[in-house]
Amino acid sequence: MASKVVTVASGKGGVGKTTSVANIGVALASRGQRVTCIDGDIGLRNLDVVLGLENRIVYDLVDVIEGRCRLRQAMIRDKRLAEMYLIPAAQTRDKTAISPSDMVRLCDELRQEVDWIIIDSPAGIERGFKNAIAAADRVLVMTNPEISAVRDADRVIGLLDAEGKGPASLIINRLDPALVKRGDMLTVEDVVDLLAVELIGVIPEDENVIVASNKGQPLSLDGRSKAGQAFQNIARRLMGEQVPFLELEPQNLFQRLLGRK
């Protein structure tokens, strides 16, 4: 299989890009794919923490690009999955440390080694974003079901079209079925209608996501939670499977007491 470069972008910060990159990466790797995640957020790295690999960093993305180490040396192998790697961002530098053409060269080299390269874009539409999408074969645009995030996603989708990187695919994160049912949250249909791009995943609001991020144990490692399943489904759709979207119903009190997700 020809390897694919997938970038996760959003425009607005805090919508869940890093968590999704970690989870989609893990979900692909758990399906026997060879995966490398790249943290594109130079200066504000997080992906290493979410993946629980912070204490293993020796070399980073900027070290590779500036030739201080070989590519393989900067690829940190995940402790749980055999074919899952992370290339962390440098913390002491900023976005201008690398250029879009650096990213294209790096990814071309990586394509020889792995099936999937998942890039975590920083928030914003400046240099860091341009670096992150430069090499992308496919861009997943992430949004929450709230107006400000959707507005930024719209801007990003427009920029991707202008850069010849479209059409983007959409992930809606932190959907709360109870709020939607009460009419207090944008529905999936509202968001898709507004942005007019293909939907590739809907992640329900799930407190386990935060717990898992703090522990450095991505949720999709075990597919029992709804959010974990949703990430697994995105991975399957990326691999070309047709997977129906999860039925997201609000939990009643009884289910909540039983702790069913």
């Binding site: 879009p100 719209d154 801007r155 427009g158 920029l159 079209d161 850069e163 007019a196």
Partner: protein
């Protein structure tokens, strides 16, 4: 005849300088232009520049790089003219004009006979947040105009889709300009010098038609208009 094949033509226009770049591949052309600017920095400093890039297809990264380079040299790039649709779209995405208006700031002004007032600009939607269309005549959009997008037209604006962004029709003072949309929910609507925000809508969505009536900006369902 000039001995060196001149790639850069400079012309003074009302809005500053119109610079026409010759036919050459982009990175070299841009570099040549910047070099030219550096050689005559005192001439260019503080200039407002419209750039005609011919058939070059430019992406956001290329154009924004050039804009930044110019701005570092005290030159404001405000418009990019191009024969390429890709480049025009890019320029719009960067908030640059793609047409030279006869009068750029928008004072109230009678449209003259020879102005391309009756011409229309065709825009394939959706026009997304950050997208901007600036045209002296009429503007027709096939697709939605999302919130955060902006259309400024000398004439009327027709949106075959949902209008949620900002539209300014009759921007040069034409009070007969109208705005039509299949769903009229603009962030803000302006015709000539009147400004309105759309009221919270209830009931069914229907095509609407906005115009100036006795100096007031009013929007009415298309059905009622058609009956007249």
């Amino acid at each position: 005849m000039d001995e060196t094949p001149s790639l850069i033509h400079i012309k003074g226009i009302r809005d500053g300088l119109l610079i026409t770049l010759g036919e050459a591949a982009w990175p070299d052309l841009a570099a040549a232009f910047v070099k030219n600017v550096d050689e005559r920095s005192s001439f260019f400093h503080g200039a407002r520049v419209a750039l005609d890039v011919g058939t070059n297809e430019l992406r956001v990264a290329e154009l924004s790089t050039l804009r930044d380079q110019l701005s570092e040299r005290g030159i404001a790039l405000w418009a990019v003219l191009s024969e390429s649709q890709v480049t025009e779209r890019t320029a719009q995405n960067l908030g640059l004009a793609t047409r030279l208006l006869k009068s750029r700031p928008m004072p109230v002004r009678e449209a003259t006979e020879e102005s391309p007032k009756d011409a229309a600009r065709w825009v394939k939607g959706p026009l997304r947040s950050g997208g901007r269309v600036l045209f002296e005549g009429n503007v027709i959009v096939l697709g939605d105009v999302n919130a955060g997008a902006e259309i400024v037209a000398g004439g009327s604006v027709i949106v075959w889709g949902r209008l949620r962004g900002v539209v300014h029709a009759g921007a040069q003072g034409d009070e007969k300009a109208v705005v039509c949309a299949l769903e009229m929910a603009p962030t803000q609507l302006r015709i000539a010098s009147e400004i309105a925000i759309s009221p919270k809508k209830q009931g069914k969505i229907q095509p609407e038609f906005a115009c100036l009536k006795d100096g007031q900006l009013v929007a009415e369902p298309w059905q009622e208009m058609a009956g007249r």
